[in-house]
């Protein structure tokens, strides 16, 4: 041991240490910690210590190289268990006997092996199902802010998510990184009350647990998820929260290595690092199961251009963006639909999947709501008097859309039909001639006739 900087130690006098090898560090008190080799030279190795470097010294701390890369034991018996951020059981349950050991860093799915995800999930939430449909095998993050109800929404999705015509529900792999006891308990209690816990594997790294440990939590969780999905055929919903905490840990390591920092101090390779996590969602041809990911992150200062949401958005297949304004207005879920997006929606909706009018209705709702929102900000400056009749209709449309379509109860579960029927009720506020995004035949079939005001 020659040097300690932040979460890293440099070890000299070693031979043939493999890159990525697992290291066991014993501090003077006898406590053992795990580490991983970040750089290997002929006689020195730089090691990242997951338990943190507190109490590590350069005299009496001993380091053992295990010759193994980092692995986790996987088994179906993990369902129903609660583990620490490094995969140790913390629920007082029985010892876990693994069926197989898997490298946690995983391997990229060959793009040719991927099956394009098309089975739409009915979450029962109109803002998602109607406007940004989630499909099985997608990665769709929630961009939230501190104090916003992302945990409630994620729990609601986990509770309600179904694929039509299929009885089985999702198994959940939940990975918490640096979240409060309160929030972790919220999820665990929620899973327990709904019986979901028996079908869940929970990893928890609390806010006061070692920061560096967070770096392996999502990898562990996803390795378990891959086993459940692609070996055992489960449909797995992976919830990762909070990715901002994960990225901060990444930044800490980069700073300790004195790397050239990228934007706002985050390392330049953060895109690649996050991609290695998020791309572990999907479906594989000829295999039964699937991995759907809902990463949650809080946007520092509600800033969507901050590197964490920015790089996430560049990797994931859309995003659900929360709005503090809507939350203040008391609207749940406070989803700002304009910046929200589901990129896999297109293949998951339409005749035989949801309903034939879905795509057109969504386009029309977006056009109308966007126009209403634009008028709302105009009216704030120049007043309603300057608006024409049609514009006034759009203004009311936006309000009613938020109150009747977006807003719903935390335990309310709407079918695709209910969501689309509500949409048509709202669209009927507008004269038929305004509905230019919808083909006349569909208007004929679904338009209930122009409503009064």
């Amino acid at each position: 041991m020659t040097r300690v900087t932040g979460p890293l130690i440099t070890v000299a006098g070693v031979a043939d240490v493999a890159y990525g090898e697992v290291v066991e560090i014993t501090v003077p008190s006898g406590e053992r910690r795990a580490g991983r080799v970040l750089e290997s030279r002929e006689d020195t190795a730089v090691v990242q210590v997951f338990g943190g470097t507190e109490a590590v010294d350069t005299l009496r701390t001993s380091v053992r190289f295990t010759g193994e890369t980092m692995k986790i034991g996987v088994t179906e018996a993990l369902l129903g268990r609660i583990l620490s951020g490094t995969g140790e059981p913390i629920d007082g349950g029985p010892l876990i006997i693994p069926d197989a050991m898997r490298e946690i860093s995983g391997s990229p799915i060959n793009p040719s092996a991927r099956d394009f995800p098309r089975d739409s999930i009915e979450t029962g939430i109109s803002a998602i199902d109607g406007m940004n449909t989630l499909v099985r095998g997608q990665k769709l993050p929630i961009f939230s802010g501190s104090g916003l109800p992302h945990a409630r929404l994620a729990a609601q999705i986990a509770r309600q998510a179904r694929v039509r015509g299929q009885a089985e529900s999702f198994s959940v792999v939940f990975a918490a990184m640096g979240i409060t006891y309160e929030e972790a308990d919220f999820f665990i209690r929620n899973f327990r009350e709904t019986g979901a816990l028996e079908q869940a594997v929970v990893f928890v790294n609390h806010a006061d647990d070692p920061v560096i440990e967070r770096l392996i939590t999502p990898q562990m969780a996803l390795t378990v998820a891959e086993y459940l999905a692609f070996d055992l055929g489960y449909h797995v919903l992976v919830i990762l929260t909070d990715m901002t905490n994960y990225c901060e840990a990444l930044r800490e390591v980069a700073a300790a290595r004195e790397e050239v920092p990228g934007r706002r101090g985050y390392p330049g390779y953060m895109y690649t690092d996050l991609a290695a996590i998020y791309e572990r969602a999907g479906r594989i041809k000829g295999r039964e199961g699937s991995i759907t990911q809902i990463p949650i992150l809080t946007m520092p200062n509600d800033d969507i251009t901050h590197p964490v949401p920015d790089l996430t958005g560049y990797i994931t297949e859309g995003q659900i963006v929360f709005s503090r304004d809507l939350h203040r207005k008391g609207i749940y879920p406070p989803i700002d639909l304009l910046p929200s997006l589901s990129r896999l929606m297109q293949g998951g909706i339409g005749e035989g999947r949801t309903r034939e009018d879905h795509a057109a209705v969504k386009d029309q709702l977006y056009a109308a709501y966007a126009r209403g929102r634009r008028l709302r900000s105009l009216v704030a400056v120049v007043g309603e008097e300057s608006l024409g009749d049609i514009d006034l209709l759009y203004l009311t449309f936006a309000d009613r859309f938020e109150a009747e379509f977006l807003q719903q109860q935390e335990n309310e579960r709407r079918t695709f039909e209910e969501t689309l029927d509500t949409a048509w009720q709202l669209l009927s506020m507008l004269p038929e001639s305004e509905l230019v995004r919808i083909e006349p035949a569909l208007i004929e079939k679904y338009y209930p006739g122009e409503a009064d005001g």
């Binding site: 490298e103 793009p111 991927r114 990228g262 330049g268 995003q319 105009l378 120049v382 300057s386």
Partner: protein, 597 residues
């Protein structure tokens, strides 16, 4: 000759090895017991620094490193079309067959299938003199493409032997050349170092439009065969959808699509859709004209860096046969980031935002490989490579180095806009900030193709859009009330151009592709509406009344009218419009029934 050294350091994708005296810069090497593929990027004494194209986890100092004596090269020949590769040209199907659903390391697979036979028809006879680029013979590579087997650029001489008509594999010798005092054999496969442009005779002017069927592109910001375009935009703005639309519909002969550091599901989407889709020009499967390179974001970063070079080398190879090739790179930012990541591991001096100082020159060199060219050989053939690069600026801020350095070299900018995307105005190409330096060059083509007033219409409509943006600033402050009627008409007209022309759904079965003829007819109706409107307003009709005409919804629905019915629809709308305006202005003075022209 191979040289074997020993690993001394591993840091991510970068490995150093000693005892490699005699190895050459850019040589491909095999690293470690797993025989990972790497490339020498720095040489210092007998120590080589190597960028490794596969995951390096588990490699330890002391493991062997062996040189291959070859620079990183593309394998070129029949069998490229329809194949999907990773960044260093390993067929993903073969990695799948040999390694399973997850990519394993150390699998070596040649770019071209060895066992596959191709029907070769010779085009030369013994005694003929040939130079690099000359066609020795042809094979039918796909239903639509004759693959010309060419003399490699560096060879010339007299044909000593030429294979008779028959079936051969890429390993078989098809010709022997005598020249420069040597005898050289030519096979159907040849190699070219990817980082080096393939030579041409000379660069030609490019003026043939690359028609994409995307209205805002073809009509307002056109690209040409052999041109360059940048497509920057924040996440979710629609870069990939535009690139996919181009790959599906542009009237090029060959498409090379490079998915560089992007999503696995996007490649899966292409692989799912393309085989079933039909090339609008030839009527055959799109996959028959396409080479895919997919090095997704979770695949090794060094191979991502190589992927654009592999792609452009393949593009140049088909150009040399005399084809028009279009290359899409999605996203060049991920390529630049791969350069940055490797440069960081090499501990090079960082430039702006941590990118290496050579970022600008690498980008310029890459786009320079585009162009319409007189290709090598004595046939007088021309070919072209068009390059369209997506750019993914952090935070959507175009002032960052990759966007800026790209804009210095490309001739077309399609600037994607978050606000438009949020309103679901797709393609979200901002008409105020985008530009094309080829608009003048393609005018001749449009005029000659049943679009006599193309230039006039497009200038006029663009003028309306520009006027709108200025007017909207006023409206934001004081409302629309204060505007004179003719300005309010501009707002009505601009709305109509946006909703009835600029917005184009990639997912609508009809709207996804809009032929040039239909684009022009749509433009014609928009111009007609505006002229009517101007007259009506001048005659005392309010802009609101013009905006309230029923025929407006019919115009806004134009995009969805099937192509074959559109000429008829055009006539109907024109007539309805004439009547509607006549009705509006009945009793008002000074209004003619048909507009000027």
């Amino acid at each position: 000759m191979t040289i074997t050294g020993e690993v001394v350091r591993i840091a991510g994708a970068v490995v150093s090895a000693k005892n490699l005296a005699g190895a050459r810069m850019y040589d491909v090497v095999r690293v470690g017991d797993k025989q990972l593929v790497g490339e020498i990027v720095v040489l210092e004494g007998d120590v080589a620094t190597i960028q490794v194209y596969e995951e390096t986890e588990g490699i330890a100092p002391g493991e062997p490193v062996t040189t291959t004596g070859m620079p990183l090269s593309a394998e070129l020949g029949p069998g490229l079309l329809g194949t999907t590769y990773d960044g260093i040209q390993r067929p993903l199907e073969i990695l799948l067959a040999e390694g399973g659903d997850f990519i394993v390391r150390g699998v070596h697979a040649p770019g071209l299938r060895r066992e596959c036979g191709w029907d070769f028809t010779p085009a030369v006879r013994p005694g003929d003199r040939v130079v690099g680029g000359d066609t020795l013979g042809a094979v039918v590579e796909t239903e639509v493409h004759e693959h010309r087997v060419m003399v490699p650029p560096t060879l010339q001489g007299t044909i000593a032997e030429i294979a008779p008509e028959g079936r051969y594999t890429v390993d078989d010798v098809v010709a022997t050349l005598k020249g420069d005092g040597r005898t050289q054999t030519v096979r159907m496969r040849q190699y070219w170092p990817v980082r080096q442009p393939r030579p041409v005779l000379r660069r030609l002017e490019a003026a043939d439009p690359l028609i994409s069927g995307q209205r805002v592109i073809d009509t307002f910001f056109p690209l040409v065969k052999g041109g360059t375009a940048a497509l920057p935009g924040p996440f979710g703005a629609g870069k990939t959808v535009v690139q996919h639309q181009l790959a599906k519909y542009v009237n090029a002969d060959i498409i090379v699509y490079v998915g560089c550091g992007e999503r696995g599901n996007e490649m899966a989407d292409v692989l799912r859709q393309f085989p079933a889709l039909v090339d609008p020009t030839t009527g055959k499967s799109l996959m028959d004209r396409t080479v895919l390179i997919g090095n997704t974001s979770n695949m090794p970063v060094a191979a991502r860096e190589a992927s654009v070079y592999t792609g452009i080398t393949i593009a140049e190879y088909y150009r040399d046969m005399g084809y028009d090739v279009a290359l899409m790179a999605d996203s060049t930012s991920r390529w630049a980031e791969a350069m940055r990541e490797i440069s960081g591991r090499l501990e090079e001096m960082p430039g702006e935002q941590g990118y290496p100082a050579y970022l600008a020159s690498r980008l310029a060199d890459f786009y320079e490989r585009a162009g319409r060219m007189a290709v090598l050989g004595s046939s007088g053939r021309t070919g072209s490579v068009t390059v369209i690069g997506s750019v993914s600026p952090p935070g959507g801020d175009f002032s960052e180095p990759v966007t800026q350095n790209t804009l210095r070299v490309v001739r077309v900018l399609w600037a994607l806009d978050a606000d438009l995307a949020h309103e679901r105005h797709f393609p979200s190409i901002n008409w105020l900030t985008s530009y094309s330096a080829y608009a003048g060059a393609v005018q001749g083509w449009w005029t000659a193709h049943a679009a006599p007033r193309w230039e006039e219409y497009r200038t006029e409509m663009m003028g309306v859009l520009q006027a709108e943006s200025e007017l909207l600033e006023t409206v934001q402050l004081v409302g629309e009330d204060v505007l004179p009627e003719e300005d309010r008409l501009v707002l009505v007209q601009a709305r109509l151009i946006r909703d009835g022309f600029l917005i184009q759904s990639a997912f609508h079965p009809v709207d996804t592709y809009c032929p040039a003829e239909k684009q022009y007819l749509m433009l014609d109706l928009l111009a007609r509406f505006y002229r009517h409107g101007q007259r009506a307003v001048a005659a005392g009709v309010s802009a609101a009344a013009v905006g309230g005409l029923a025929v407006k919804s019919r115009i806004e629905r134009m995009p969805f009218v099937p192509d074959e019915r559109f000429a008829g629809e055009h006539a109907v709308i024109a007539q309805e419009m004439d009547e509607a305006f006549a009705g509006l202005t009945a009793g008002k003075a000074a209004y003619g029934v048909t507009p000027r022209g």
